[in-house]
Symmetry: D2
C-alpha cells in the first residue's frame, strides 16, 4: 500500500459516521477516491429512497479524502463548503461516490464528485458535488 | 396540533435516517422548522467532531420540512440542490438546525437554514445552508 | 468618513467593471455594504430583464467589500466561491445588493447578500448569495 | 446551421449584456456551448484582473445556452441557481467558458461549465460552475 493510501485508510477508519453508514473507501490513485455503502433501511427518507444526507455524506468524505491524498503529509483537511445537486432518486442496491481533485492550491483544494446508484448491475448518476477543502497543519 | 404540523411530523417519522441520527423535529410555525440531535459517537469524523454529513442531513431535512409546511396539501417535496458553508467545528452536547422559507414559488421553494452546536448552554453557529426544494404532486 | 469606509470606497473606485455597470457603493457599517445600479439596456438578457450575471456581479462585490471592511488593514480580499439563487426576474428601475458578514474567521470570511429590484418605490427580492471570501496579505 | 444552433445564436444576439462584455458564442454540439470575450479594461476589478462577475456572466450564459440547445423547441430557459469556484486570478488576453449538460430532466437541466484564461497561447482553468436551469414554456 502506498503512503497516501495508508493515510486515507487510517483516517477513514477513525470516522465513526462512515461505519454508521456501512461505508468503505478505496483510493484509486492520488487525488481520486471512491466510497461505497450497500442499501440499508436505516438510511432512508420518507419514500424509502436513501436520504440526500447519506449520499451527501459519502460525497463529502470522498472529496475530503481526495484532497487529503494530495495535501502535505503534516496537514489535515477540513470541509469549508460544498454544493450538491440531486439528479435522480437514490434507489438501488449499492451507492458510491467518486471524487477527484479539480485544483490543488497551497491552502485550498477544490474537488468534484459524482454519486451513483447501482441497480441490476447498472450505474445511475444520482448526485454531483463541488467542494472547497482547506489543508491545515495538523496539531497533534 | 395544526394541519401543517401533523403533516411534517407524519413524514418525519417515516425518515428512518433521522432515527439513525437520533433526531427530533419541532415545527415552530408555517415555513419554520427545527431539527435537533444529541451528540453521539456514531456520528463523528476522524477528530471526534460531528461529521459534516450529519450536520448537513438535519439542515437538508429542516429545509425540506419548512418547504413542505407551505406546499399545497397534495404535494410532496424533493431536494433539488443545496450549498452548505461550515463555519466552526461541530463540537457540543447537542446540535440543531433551524430553517425558514426564503421564497415560495409555484414549483420551487428556496429555504435557508443555520446549524448550531449547544455547549454549556451556549449556542454556536456551525454551518449555514441555502437550498432549492421542488414541490411535486404526490403520486400515492 | 471612517477608515473602513474610505478603504472600501478607494478599492471600489478602482473596479472598472462597477463603472461599466453604472454601480455605486455605500457602506452602512463595518461588515455591511450596499451596491446599486439603475436599469440600463446594456445590462439586459434576451427578455429585457437585467442579466443574472449583472445581478451576481453586484452581489459578489457587495460580499467582497463587506469582508474587506472587517479584514486586517494590510489585507486584501479574494472571492473563493459563491452560490446564488435567482428568486424573481430582475425587472425594475434600479437594483441593489445588500451584504453582511455571516462569520469572520482568521482567513476565511463568509458573507450573505440579497439583491432587490426597485419598481414604483417597491423593493422585491430577486436573488440571494452565500459567499466565501479569503483575506490575504496585500502584496503592494 | 442546425436548428439548435440557430436558436442559440438568435437568443444570444438579443442579450445586450453579452455585447457589453464583448462576448461571442459558438455551439459545438447539442448540449455543449462555448462563450469567449477578449480582455478589456472595462471588465476589471481593483487589481486589473477580470472581475469575477464578468467571468460568472459567461459561465451562466454558457450553462443557459447548453440547456436551451436540449430543451423542447417551444420552451425557454431560466437560471434557477448556480455555484462558482474561482480557481486562479482571471489574467489573460482572452477568456472562455465551456459548458455541458450534466443531466436533462423534464423541467430541470443541470449544467457544468469551466472558464479558462488564454495567455501566450496557453489555457489556464480560472473558474468552474455547477448550475440548475429550468425549462419553461415560452409565452410569446
Amino acid at each position: 500500500m502506498e503512503e497516501f493510501e495508508r493515510r486515507v485508510q487510517d483516517s477513514f477508519r477513525r470516522q465513526a459516521f462512515m461505519k454508521t453508514l456501512g461505508a468503505e473507501i478505496a483510493t484509486r490513485k492520488m487525488g481520486e477516491v471512491e466510497i461505497r455503502f450497500p442499501f440499508h433501511r436505516s438510511l432512508t427518507q420518507q419514500n424509502d429512497f436513501v436520504h440526500a444526507g447519506a449520499i451527501t455524506s459519502i460525497l463529502d468524505s470522498a472529496c475530503g479524502y481526495a484532497a487529503l491524498s494530495v495535501a502535505p503529509l503534516d496537514h489535515d483537511v477540513l470541509s469549508i463548503e460544498f454544493k450538491v445537486n440531486f439528479l435522480s432518486p437514490a434507489v438501488g442496491e449499492e451507492f458510491c461516490a467518486r471524487s477527484h481533485v479539480k485544483r490543488a492550491g497551497k491552502n485550498l483544494i477544490v474537488c468534484a464528485a459524482d454519486a451513483f446508484a447501482l441497480k441490476n448491475s447498472q450505474e445511475k448518476l444520482v448526485a454531483t458535488m463541488l467542494a472547497t477543502i482547506m489543508a491545515v497543519m495538523r496539531i497533534a
